[in-house]
């Protein structure tokens, strides 16, 4: 390497040190406990969608009993949200869902596919977490489609397009405390199979213990852009960070690019301190087609919801930067 090249690489490392690709909105957090019009314990991970000029967040709210439910928040600018006065989805009281949602419904992800809005979420019971799928036309009533995995499985995200004629999803089955991201397929959204591992944990990295899908995959010319979360255990407890990877368009089990460093790591007070500190965890992102910006919504410290902004191109570029990018 020439001296000039070494200098450039050194300068670049200095410039990037301690910086996140994601820019935190100055008005964060955008939704916190005080914004919820009904009694609850905390608010965090939110799915996101945009219908016309109208932004919607389907937010996970933990009620005072300790179960998670979903509430709906509205916005005209994607930054300032008003939360509906009542929850829009609560644990089912009819079978077969009631048994498996007895401890709550968690971490929704919204995918618009062929004009229908699907919500993939975690059904939680004393049997463990498993994936469930619902659909909605109006975000006020939800039709449950099926329980679509066995326990222990979380972080399900439906692709916004069929791949080779089949529905596809990402999920995260657990093996002990370890978890990797898998891809599986379905002809009817109910029965899933042909599962293949897509992204694994990386030793000696920030995502060395667990990884899981965060926002539903975003289609780009280079592949499916996936914003995912990674966990590293430390003496002070786990740290949840967010990263990006690029999956092959035709075979999303194939990773074609993966950033070595996170795009967002807990740094701000509201990310460090809360019910579970040192957590940033996304369940949804919106691509603004006219600006090329991505608004990424994320739960912080399991206590509030924030928004971060990045250029889509910057996230794509980050996927293909090497190990020395940090």
């Amino acid at each position: 390497m020439t001296q000039a090249a070494q200098t450039t690489a050194s300068q670049r490392r200095t410039r990037l040190a301690g910086r996140d690709v994601i820019h935190r909105w100055e008005g964060n957090p955008i939704v916190s406990l005080e914004d919820i019009p009904f009694p609850c314990n905390t608010v965090f991970n939110a799915a996101a969608t945009k219908i016309g000029d109208h932004y919607l967040l389907l937010i996970r709210v933990e009620d005072q009993r300790g179960r998670s439910i979903f509430a709906l928040a509205h916005s005209e600018d994607g930054y300032r949200f008003v939360v509906d006065p009542e929850p829009v989805m609560t644990p089912a009281d009819t079978e077969p869902f009631a048994t498996y949602e007895a401890c709550g419904i968690e971490d929704p992800r919204i995918t618009c596919l062929d004009g229908t809005h699907y919500v993939m979420y975690t059904a939680y019971s004393h049997y463990g977490p498993r994936l469930a799928l619902a659909k909605t036309d109006d975000f006020t009533s939800f039709t449950r489609i099926a329980l679509i995995s066995e326990p222990v499985n979380k972080d399900g995200a439906l692709f916004p397009k069929k791949i080779n004629g089949r529905y596809a999803r990402l999920d995260r089955p657990m093996v002990g405390s370890q978890g990797n991201i898998w891809v599986s397929y379905s002809d009817d959204l109910i029965h899933w199979g042909d599962a293949q591992v897509a992204m694994t944990t990386r030793p000696d990295h920030w995502d060395c213990v667990r990884v899981g899908a965060s926002a539903p995959p975003i289609e780009t010319d280079q592949g499916w852009l996936e914003i995912y979360h990674g966990v590293k255990d430390t003496a002070g407890g786990p740290i949840y960070r967010l990263g990006v990877a690029m999956l092959d368009l035709e075979n999303p089990a194939k990773v074609v690019g993966r950033a070595a460093i996170p795009i967002l790591t807990p740094r701000e007070y509201y990310e460090r301190v809360g019910d579970i500190g040192n957590v940033v965890f996304s369940c949804g992102a919106i691509v603004e087609q006219h600006t090329g910006l991505v608004k990424m919504y994320y739960g912080a410290a399991d206590t509030c919801i924030c928004v971060g902004i990045a250029k889509l191109d910057a996230l794509i570029t980050r996927c293909f930067e090497g190990e020395d990018s940090g």
């Binding site: 100055e26 008005g27 005080e34 914004d35 509205h74 005209e76 930054y79 949200f81 007070y269 509201y270």
Partner: protein, 99 residues
């Protein structure tokens, strides 16, 4: 206020980039939230959900730096309100001093 209507304030305004604020009604326990739009020496304009908005003449308490390590509280009187968008209102109020 930034709605394009006639600006009546004579003080120099300092625009704020969406700084968080909390406020409470006098003698009420509920806390409401919003974002500062701009401030001047004696006044502050903030954005809050329309359904929660206080009325002109109402006395409220503002909390700056809410959620941080050192929040500051100040009493204020609402001067006027205007729509911000479909869901939010702009609230102009006059400081009654830091507490």
């Amino acid at each position: 206020m930034s709605t394009g209507q006639l600006e009546l304030r004579s003080e120099v305004r300092c625009a704020r980039v969406a700084e968080r604020i909390c406020w409470t009604r006098e003698d009420a326990g509920n806390t409401y939230t919003g974002w500062i739009n701009d401030t001047s020496r004696n006044e502050v304009v903030f954005i809050t959900p329309r359904r929660d908005r206080p009325s002109p003449g109402e006395h409220i308490e503002l909390t700056f730096g809410a959620g941080g390590r050192a929040p500051q509280h100040t009493a204020a009187e609402v001067l006027r309100t205007e729509p911000y968008d479909r869901y939010f209102s702009l609230i102009a109020c006059k400081h009654a001093g830091l507490r």
